[in-house]
Symmetry: C2
């Protein structure tokens, strides 16, 4: 049972837009950014929602590593492809523009691909792939991020948690939506554990001596110093397939940087050698595939839906009551929260009040009563 | 140290072509199929090489579930896409034709995608993606396969081991080549364990009661009866990310069937309800991305190579001497085997002699001396 207070969706949306605007983000862009963050909360992905509003967006605008006005340069455009320089503006604004362009290209040509460089955190990757899905297409996206994942047989945080995300249309009430880090766990989840005073499960993090760590706050701190790293999906070594997760993470690292010729890995730390902040200069990639150029959208939807229904109906392990398919938990979270709003824990409440008071905005939150 | 005898590459190639021809495969097609199987051995991927020549190809031609003459119907073609019906012929022949078409399309349009249905085993997925890479492009491919992987919280073999394969150009002596099953382990590996009288490591297979199995022969037998299943990458349950591997497997299952509107999961068992054989009717998908439509091939290669070199140079775990990148072990295997030939264990030797004697072909293998 959810015990945290809720903030109504409309109120949170209006508040975030007003705060973004107060920090110099143009209104149209602020609407996009607020929607991306709220979509994460709508899906129950609390690691990438309003918990990140202040620390990852507002604080970075304040410290100068995220520019509130997004100057987008189209560096290259062909009938099927786009390369964009986001000039260290809002990654979500550049990604929104990119997906709108690619969807139009895929409508005409069936396939489209894009790459963005000099960007910043673009929120949940699944927001962008869902734009394609809502247009009746398959969306694929990934992004690099500051180094936190060690390669197989390594201990040094080299690559980002690098999601490799696919959203695909189905004939069900919700799409197939696979949106997660290629590491066993991602930074946002550890931030979430820390915020809720929970330990990180053992075996997800590797230390320099090859051991593990579970103190969530210490993990976040030591990882930035390079003293521990996340393990790739599949875990330690090769016997349980850790090299496969490592491979997926590498694919995302390459596609995020190499299509656009942008920086990668250690260059994305957001820190200068002297410890001062610098631009993150992230890279993202996007592919859009239009099923109408294959056997048609209806065929695609029916086949995909049939696969997902058969999976859910298959025999469960002893003690398990439900087999989920990717995107289903997000849909269930939305049904649960739709009429209530965003659940906010204590630290988010404090951040909202702090921003409201600082900017003297006319909002009153019910959790203050 | 390799203790098995070798068969020279040229001899094995000529022998396989002659055997394929004797079973009705046209010479041009036989050359393609032999090269695909040998490429697996060249890369040291022994689960998909000449060990499968007799059981997965020749025996299936004999039992009627694989047609030696591949009638290819182009069901749909646009400037960027192709859908093909392989009519239960050689999956490798249809895939070869597909990749040649897609590479030409991507040369003109930057992006191309294809789907094949009513197909059969197409060998290592990495052969097809490497065709793109040799043309200076990124290759992505996947295929469904007979059901052997259980979804998270399930015990029933529902999906194939479904590789999701990427090959990408680099400025090094070998490409980035990520070619593996989205399960912790794949059937070919268990066949390899069985052939070499080795157990399958614990924790890779789930039984109906939620336990595990390690007897490789028993796993293969019980899996076909539906009594055990492979676990997705990330392992059992959700805590170590098993739902992520399950998600990747599902992506491949959907793309392999839904783009072409072909069958999926249980329909791919190769068995009728009464236990008699039927056509496998597999589906494959292929995407080709041309870096020249982004910031150019040279930029792509240099960036990709830089990432891979930095990964290899990163700090190693205590006791580890080498951090590999995907494709490196395959390259090292080739360097090791290039001048020697294909290593063949006892069971492959027996199969080669059996086929030779049956067809009365003029070959003598040095392991017979």
């Amino acid at each position: 049972m959810e015990t945290r207070p809720f903030v109504p969706w409309e109120q949170m949306n209006a508040f975030m837009i007003d705060v973004f605007k107060a920090y110099g983000v143009p209104e149209e862009d602020a609407r996009i950014c607020a929607d991306v963050l709220l979509e994460s909360d709508r899906r129950g992905v609390e690691s990438h929602g309003c918990n990140r509003f202040k620390p990852i967006y507002i604080d970075r605008i304040v410290n100068g590593t995220l520019l509130p006005v997004t100057k987008i340069d189209i560096v290259k455009e062909t009938p099927t492809t786009v390369v964009m320089d986001a000039n260290n503006g809002m990654g979500m604004v550049a990604s929104h523009r990119m997906m709108k362009m690619l969807i139009e290209k895929a409508r005409t040509y069936g396939m489209a691909g894009g790459a963005i460089y000099n960007s910043t955190h673009y929120g949940i990757a699944g927001y962008w792939t869902t734009m394609a899905e809502k247009a009746g297409m398959i969306g694929i996206s990934g992004t690099n991020a500051r180094p936190s994942v060690a390669p197989t047989f390594g201990v040094e945080p080299m690559m980002g948690t690098n999601p490799l995300t696919f959203t695909m249309p189905t004939d069900e009430d919700f799409p197939f939506n696979f949106d997660c880090a290629t590491s066993t766990v991602q930074n946002g989840k550890i931030e979430y554990y820390e915020r809720n005073h929970q330990p990180t499960p053992a075996g997800l993090v590797i230390t320099k001596d090859g051991g593990t760590m579970t103190d969530s706050g210490a993990i976040l701190k030591e990882m930035r110093k390079g003293n521990c790293a996340l393990l790739p999906l599949g875990g330690l070594g090769e016997s349980t397939g850790g090299y496969k997760g490592y491979g997926f993470t590498t694919i995302v690292e390459i596609l995020s940087a190499a299509l656009a010729g942008g920086p990668y890995m250690k260059a994305l730390s957001g820190k200068n050698p002297d410890g001062t902040n610098r631009m993150y200069r992230l890279g993202h990639f996007f592919f859009v595939i239009n099923p109408e150029f294959f056997m048609g959208l209806d065929t695609f939807k029916t086949t995909a839906g049939g696969i997902l229904r058969d999976l859910r109906a298959s025999e469960k392990a002893p003690g398990e009551e439900h087999i989920y398919t990717a995107g289903e938990k997000e849909h269930l979270a939305w049904l649960e929260r739709r009429d209530k709003g965003v659940p906010v824990g204590e630290s988010i409440q404090n951040e909202l009040v702090e921003l409201r008071d600082k900017l003297n905005l006319p909002y009153h939150f019910s959790f203050e009563d």
